[in-house]
Amino acid sequence: MSVNYIPSTFAVLRDTDRCIKCRACERQCSNEVHYYDADFDKMFVHEEQCVDCQRCVTICPTKALAIIENPNSFRKASNYSQQLILENYRQASTGAVLLSSMGNPQDFPVYWDKMLINASQVTNPSIDPLREPMETKVFLGKKHTHINRNPDGTIDMTEQSPQLEIKYPIMFSAMSYGSISYNAHESLARAATELGTFYNTGEGGLHQDFYQYKTNTIVQVASGRFGVSKDYLDAGAAIEIKMGQGAKPGIGGHLPGKKVSDDVSKTRMIPKGTDAISPAPHHDIYSIEDLRQLIFSLKEATDYKKPVIVKIAAVHNVAAIASGIARSGADILVIDGFRGGTGAAPTRIRDNVGIPIELALASVDQRLRDEQIRNEISIVAAGSIRSSSDAVKAFALGADAVYIATPALLAIGCHLCRSCHGAKCNWGIATQRPDLVKRLNPDVAYKRLVNLVHAWDHEIKEMMGGMGINSLEALKGNRLMLRGIGLTDKELQILGIMHAGE
């Protein structure tokens, strides 16, 4: 043994005047931070094990607890932050790649916060969404340039591409069963069904119990092809090919064998206890042509009835890649920004690879318009859509819809402690431990998800009404509705917006 260089990150404050020693904190902490000492008749803490998930704080019946940052601090330096010093200590003791979870916490510009939304005054009057009809329903898929009519005047649908009809322009993005719990999946599935939108299986396959929600399920096909079968493809309203993820562009995934429980093994269709490794690339995709083959294989397998989605991480040449995908036969493109969440990613990758969704979205939309193929594909923006105003700005930058995951997890109790990779989630979300999974009550959680989307939709309609717009179609790509604030000419140029005051 040698000295441990790493001080605890957090300090646990307990108001002993209030603490009644009910020990609920102790029973509910999977990190075993709290403990009772009978000799002292007092609660104590192992604060070095605390991840600041706030479970104890939240359930404490007397509100006796608070978690704060450990006031202990290393000597300040702008170049070497305490975080960096600790990471080096950690690696020196383990020799391992640093792992992190959820979205990039570093101080990169958030362009959503540097864009302002327009509102009507005097001319082009604003609309009161409580009085006037307001359309936020969206159809995702290829829009053909011309249509043929039947003799009776109706549109000949046989020539149209399959569309994904969503009642709200908000879907739940891919989170696999394995990365999140059974109860979390159930909550998402039930919420999507009640809302008339979609949730996404992620790359972990679809648990048999959830086939009943098929009309609101997007099934994902990723490089590991876990759980992919004819039944699985048929169980989706759309099929998503995952080429990349915003939080970890360019790398694959690794679910350790110990997390491959009986149920996960069945769902992923791999032996129990074996590591589930998603390769970095799809080993059969080295070109847009290869991607097109997979897209059409999937369409062939499902009678051309389901839209095929291609999801890519936002990276440097995203516009050119998107152009290729729009020509590959895909119906919907998902662009996932670098601030998007993850259940586990190497820290350096998460914090340093990829580009912001705002810039990627604007440049892709512009490129496809310039090439006159914007109608060939719908665009879904993902990777840190944090609020309804982020969503409105995404629509104005050209998104047809948005994917949300972190806000969905927040709705069901996530406190963003960013410890998912520890698999001991105290909120029953990012864990497979039955005693922890139990803590997420789907009966409660799905209603919270429904509430969240309803609330966002109200706000979106309110903002649209303010702009004098009564249909999402009229907001889409309407960059005149946005102005930049504190942005450089180059940033404004990429975003395709004017500066505030212009």
């Binding site: 020693k21 009910c22 020990r23 029973r27 359930i59 139990k438 409660v444």
Partner: protein
């Protein structure tokens, strides 16, 4: 009549219901007072833990009321709705009800050295309305529902 039921799949074994129950029946106006000033506040609900199994149990207010029938003093009684309640003034602490209750739900009141027993009365004598165990369950595991079929 509405009764309290626990969903074992949802019960986390946090034992908070016991504390809220004790508070609700303590006569104090805050849970801190109930435990700081009134040290032996007794819960009438009990969480059983066995490995991964947890569930809260309290008087079922069952149809048979063996405790009421066995009570030697008339302290235990059942009203027309089916609510089984105890008049602790009349209880002599013979524990015949403890002997009889198949759910183990008659609680010996340690607060008075076991001189009487006590039991869940669905919070009708304190704050009323929804029982506190139901109100404060952090996982929606304890519910207050009418599951009796009209016979």
């Amino acid at each position: 009549m509405k009764r309290v039921y626990v969903n074992e799949n949802r019960c986390l074994g946090c034992h908070l219901c016991e504390y809220w129950c004790a508070f609700a029946n303590s006569g104090e106006d805050s849970i801190v007072k109930a435990f700081k000033l009134n040290k032996d506040a007794m819960p009438r609900i009990n969480v059983e833990d066995s490995g991964e199994i947890h569930f809260a149990v309290q008087c079922r207010h069952c149809n048979d009321t063996p405790c009421v029938k066995a009570c030697i003093t008339g302290a235990l009684s059942v009203d027309a709705e089916g609510l089984v309640s105890i008049d602790t003034e009349r209880c002599v602490g013979c524990y015949t009800c403890v002997l009889t209750c198949p759910y183990g739900c008659i609680v010996i009141d340690e607060k008075n050295g076991g001189k009487t027993v006590t039991k869940c009365e669905l919070c009708v004598k304190n704050a009323g309305g929804e029982p506190w165990c139901v109100k404060e369950c952090i996982n929606g595991a304890i519910v207050f529902e009418d599951r009796s079929k009209i016979l």
